[in-house]
């Protein structure tokens, strides 16, 4: 579980307002789980705790299941914080 590099973070809607920016970088490990990524995010951005029960993550434009056992991150991957959607 060695830090290997940075992924690109994207914040939208309420998460963007809480964090106060649209984009950031995050140091991550290569083999991880969505739940661990979320924990890392919450350590980095404690304000997100307020909405953490109602966000999902996407990796390279695909939703992650929070209970997935393992995901593999590559440097430069695009990780987005997705609050409840309200399009249409």
């Amino acid at each position: 579980s060695v830090l290997f590099g940075q992924v690109r973070l994207l914040f939208f809607a309420k998460s963007r307002e809480i964090v106060g920016r649209k984009e950031a970088e995050l140091e991550v490990v290569r083999l991880t789980t969505p739940r661990d990524v979320l924990q890392t995010l919450l350590q980095e951005y404690p304000g997100l705790g307020e909405i953490s029960d109602n966000i999902v993550l996407s990796l390279n434009e695909e939703y992650l299941e929070i209970d997935d056992q393992q995901i593999v991150l590559e440097a430069g991957d695009e990780l987005a914080i997705i609050p409840p959607i309200s399009g249409g």
């Binding site: 109602n54 409840p84 959607i85 249409g88």
Partner: protein, 167 residues
């Protein structure tokens, strides 16, 4: 922030007709006429459409305006996936879906979906499925700004990770 994204024409076979998927996310005012025109086919006599418009009130509060934002490339990707699912279920020709983002004044359209088919039943059922699926899967967010300048990020009830009991 505008752009469009068309898939290749569908091949015949697997029960599919020729046809085109066109999805877009744009800051421009939506033209129902243009979107209908794009869905029109000389071989399909029926077009079903859904138009979502912004409302002037929410639970008694006056809504001044709405602001939409999108995770642009993923939104288009999910819209194209919706098109694929529609084609798995119904025999349709052209599918057009355009979502507006940015400030959308009250009474104007935030989304238009149009589907042409030789059969009106399929066109209308396909549109119904498409808007339901878009509401559940496409990363777009709506913020309502009220008369007292307070505001609220909305949550589609179709969104599985919404807080229950939230608006």
């Amino acid at each position: 922030m505008s752009g469009d994204c068309s898939s290749q024409p569908q091949e015949e076979g697997k029960g599919r007709r020729m046809g085109t998927d066109y999805v877009d996310v744009t800051e421009d005012r939506l033209s129902v006429e243009d979107i209908t025109e794009r869905a029109t086919s000389p071989t399909s006599g029926a077009i079903g459409l859904f138009v979502g418009t912004t409302r002037n009130n929410f639970e008694g509060k006056t809504v001044l305006r709405l602001e939409y934002e999108a995770y642009m490339p993923m939104a288009k990707k999910k819209m194209l996936e919706t098109c694929e699912l529609v084609r798995d279920k119904w025999n349709v020709e052209n599918i057009v879906m355009v979502h507006r983002i940015g400030v959308v004044p009250v009474g104007e359209a935030s989304i238009v979906i149009a589907v042409s088919s030789p059969h009106r039943k399929e066109a209308l059922e396909a549109v119904h499925f498409a808007i339901d699926h878009v509401k559940a899967t496409v990363p777009v967010w709506k913020k309502e700004i009220y008369g007292d300048e307070s505001s609220s990020w909305k949550q589609n009830k179709e969104c599985t990770w919404s807080g229950s009991g939230h608006p």
